[in-house]
C-alpha cells in the first residue's frame, strides 16, 4: 500500500525532470546524490556496518581484548552461548524488566497525558513536572533512587513506614529498578501521548456530546481508538529500549550483578564477557544473538503495522 502510493507520487515527478532536462542533468543528479549522502554514509559505514561485520567475524574466533593470537573456531562460541546458563538468565532478567516496564509506562504515560491535557490552567507546569526527570542522565537518576531506596537512610522506607531491603533482596531488586525507570522515562511517552491527544479533532467530541455520550463513553469510543497508533509506537519504542536496559541497573547496584545475580541484564553480561573476562570473541557471539533478537522484535513490529494498514484500507 505504502509503496504503491509512494511510486505514484514519485513517478510523474521523475518523468517531468527527465523530460524537461537533458540527460546531463541526470548525471549531475548522480553526483549530487552521492555527495549529499556521503558524509553520513562514511560515518555509518565505519561505526555501524563495520562493527556489525566485525562482530560477526569475531564471533567465529577466540579473540581476546588485545587481539593477539586469534584463531578461527567456527561456531563454537554460539554452541557455548546456547548452553551458557548465564546467557539465558540475563536474557530472562532483561525480558522480565521489559515485561514490567512496558505496560506500566504505557498506562502511566496515558493517564498523565489525559491529566495534563484536561486541566485548563498551568499546562506548562504539568508538562515541566512530568517531563523533567527524563532530562537527567540515567546514572544520576539511578544514584538518586539508590539513595532513596537505601533501607536505613532512604526516604522511601521512611515515608511509607517500610523496612523493605529494596536493593539487597532478590525479589525487590528488579522492581526497584523498574520504579526508577518509570519515574525517569515516563515523561517521554507522556509527551508523545500529549501530542497525539492535541491532534484529535475537537468536532469528534462535540458530535458525541450532541449524541448524548458521557465523558466515559467519549474516552472509550473516541480517545482510545484515536490513540491506537501512538500506543503502538510507545509500546514498540519501549520494548526495544527496555530490552537494552543497562545504565540504571548497573549504577543502582554499584556495577555489580545485584543480589544473587538477579539484576544482571543481557547488555551487562556481554560487557562482562568482553571487558572483564576479555573474551571478545565470545562476547561478540552473544552480542550477535542479541542483535538477532532486537531485529526480530523490530521486524515483527513492521510486519504487524503492514498487516494493520492493509486491514484498515
Amino acid at each position: 500500500m505504502t509503496t504503491t502510493s509512494a511510486e505514484t507520487v514519485i513517478r510523474p515527478a521523475r518523468a517531468k525532470t527527465a523530460a524537461g532536462s537533458p540527460a546531463v542533468r541526470r548525471g549531475q543528479g548522480f553526483q549530487h546524490g552521492v555527495w549529499f549522502t556521503a558524509p553520513f554514509l562514511v560515518l555509518f559505514a565505519l561505526f555501524v556496518i563495520w562493527p556489525l561485520l566485525r562482530g560477526l567475524y569475531l564471533s567465529l574466533t577466540d579473540a581476546n581484548i588485545s587481539g593477539d593470537g586469534t584463531s578461527f573456531i567456527g561456531l563454537d562460541n554460539y554452541t557455548e552461548a546456547l548452553d551458557d546458563p548465564l546467557v539465558w538468565e540475563s536474557l530472562g532478567h532483561s525480558a522480565y524488566f521489559t515485561l514490567l516496564v512496558v505496560p506500566c509506562i504505557t498506562v502511566l504515560a496515558f493517564l498523565l497525558a489525559m491529566l495534563a491535557h484536561h486541566i485548563e490552567r498551568g499546562k506548562w507546569l504539568w508538562r515541566l513536572c512530568f517531563f523533567m526527570p527524563f532530562l537527567l542522565p540515567s546514572t544520576v537518576a539511578a544514584n538518586l533512587w539508590q539513595w532513596l531506596f537505601n533501607p536505613g537512610t532512604g526516604m522511601i522506607n521512611h515515608v511509607f513506614g517500610l523496612e523493605t531491603p529494596w536493593l539487597t533482596d532478590k525479589s525487590y531488586a528488579m522492581p526497584a529498578i523498574v520504579i526508577t525507570t518509570l519515574w525517569w522515562t515516563v515523561g517521554f511517552s507522556f509527551l508523545l501521548y500529549l501530542a497525539a491527544l492535541q491532534g484529535i479533532p475537537a468536532h469528534l467530541y462535540e458530535a458525541a456530546e450532541l449524541d448524548g455520550a458521557n465523558a466515559w463513553h467519549r474516552v472509550v469510543h473516541i480517545t482510545l481508538p484515536m490513540l491506537r497508533h501512538v500506543t503502538g509506537l510507545v509500546v514498540a519504542l519501549q520494548i526495544l529500549a527496555s530490552l537494552q536496559v543497562f545504565d540504571q541497573a548497573v549504577v543502582i547496584q554499584d556495577f555489580g550483578p545485584g543480589p544473587e545475580g538477579s539484576t544482571r541484564t543481557f547488555v551487562q553480561y556481554t560487557l562482562e564477557q568482553g571487558f572483564t573476562s576479555y573474551r571478545v570473541g565470545y562476547a561478540s557471539a552473544v552480542s550477535i544473538i542479541f542483535f538477532v533478537i532486537i531485529a526480530a522484535v523490530a521486524l515483527a513490529r513492521m510486519w504487524l503495522l503492514r498487516n494493520r494498514e492493509e486491514g484498515v484500507r
Partner: protein, 287 residues
C-alpha cells in the same frame, strides 16, 4: 497592546468547575510525587555528609551547609567533566545536524544508482546501538586508535539512522514546486538546499538538534566503554564511576548529579515549547 494580549489569553479560561478543581488537585499531587525525589536530592546536597546519613532521615537540613558543593569543585574533576560533556555534546550535535540533513535530503530528493539499497541498509541500522553491539564497536574504535580520545567518544555517536530517517520523511513532504521554481531560475542543487530547504525545515532541524543534544549529554554507556581516564570523562560517566568508587559521599554525589542535570532543566524551562514539539516530532516521526 498589552491589555489586548492579556484579554485574548484570559478569555479561553473557564471558571473553576468541580471537575477542574478535582483534576487540578490530582495534578498537583502527582507533580509532588514527581518532584519529591529531586527536592530530596537538592536538600541532601545542602546537608553535611554526617547529617545526610543520619537516622531517622529527614527532608530539610537542620544545618544548611554548602560544604558538599564547595567540595566537588575543590577536590573533584567535575569542572573537567562538565567541559568534556559540553565539547562532546556540541560536536555530536553539530556533526549529526549537518550529516543527517544532507543525507536526508539526498535520499528524499536526489536520484542515484543504489539509492534504495543504501536507504534499506540505513533503515536496518536503526536496530544497531552501542548497547547491542558494544564489544565489536569498541574493538573497531580500538583498531582506529581512538580509545581514550575525544574523537573516540564523539564519532561513534554521530551515525544515528533515526535522525536521517526523520529528516528524510520531512524533506519528502516539502512541495517539489518550490524547488522546481528555483531550478528554472538556474539555481543548483546546493543552492536550493541551502536557500530553500534549510530555512523551511528549521523546526525539524531544531527538533533533531535538541534531541541529539539531550541524548548525547546524557549518554553514559558509550563514554563508559571508550574511556576510563578521569580527565576525559563526561558528567554522567564521571559521577557514576569516580564519585561512586571510594565510599559514596551522598551529599557530594547529589550535588554532582544536580550539576549534571541542571543545564538541561534550565534550558528546558526556557525553550519548553520547542523541546516539547521536538520530542513529540522526533518520536512521532517513528510511525
Amino acid at each position: 497592546m498589552t491589555t489586548a494580549a492579556q484579554q485574548t489569553r484570559v478569555r479561553p479560561r473557564r471558571s473553576w468547575t468541580p471537575s477542574q478543581i478535582v483534576l487540578t488537585l490530582l495534578g498537583t499531587a502527582v507533580s509532588v510525587v514527581f518532584l519529591a525525589p529531586l527536592a530530596w536530592a537538592l536538600f541532601t546536597s545542602w546537608k553535611s555528609e554526617t547529617e545526610a546519613v543520619e537516622v531517622p532521615t529527614h527532608w530539610l537540613p537542620k544545618e544548611w551547609t554548602g560544604q558538599a558543593w564547595t567540595a566537588i569543585f575543590e577536590t573533584g574533576n567535575i569542572t573537567n567533566w562538565f567541559v568534556n560533556s559540553l565539547v562532546v555534546s556540541v560536536c555530536v550535535t553539530a556533526i549529526v545536524l549537518v550529516t543527517s540533513a544532507l543525507a536526508g535530503y539526498g535520499f528524499a530528493r536526489t536520484e542515484f544508482r543504489g539509492k534504495n539499497v543504501l536507504l534499506g541498509v540505513v533503515m536496518a541500522g536503526l536496530m544497531v546501538s552501542p548497547a547491542v553491539l558494544g564489544v565489536p564497536l569498541f574493538t573497531t574504535v580500538q583498531q582506529m586508535g581512538m580509545v581514550d580520545t575525544y574523537w573516540g567518544m564523539i564519532l561513534p555517536q554521530c551515525a544515528p539512522a533515526a535522525m536521517v530517517y526523520i529528516l528524510y520523511k520531512f524533506f519528502q513532504g516539502v512541495p517539489r514546486e518550490l524547488e522546481e521554481a528555483a531550478f528554472i531560475d538556474g539555481a543548483g542543487r546546493w543552492r536550493v538546499f541551502l536557500t530553500i530547504i534549510v530555512p523551511l525545515s528549521r523546526p525539524s532541524l531544531a527538533a533533531v538538534g535538541i534531541f541529539t543534544f539531550i541524548s548525547s549529554w546524557n549518554n553514559f554507556l558509550w563514554p563508559y566503554m571508550v574511556t576510563n581516564n578521569p580527565d576525559l570523562m563526561t558528567m554522567p560517566n564521571g559521577i557514576a564511576t569516580v564519585m561512586n568508587s571510594y565510599g559514596i559521599q551522598w551529599a557530594q554525589l547529589m550535588a554532582g548529579g544536580l550539576m549534571a542535570g541542571l543545564p538541561l532543566i534550565i534550558v528546558f524551562v526556557f525553550f519548553q515549547r520547542q523541546i516539547v514539539a521536538g520530542v513529540a516530532h522526533t518520536g512521532l516521526a517513528g510511525q
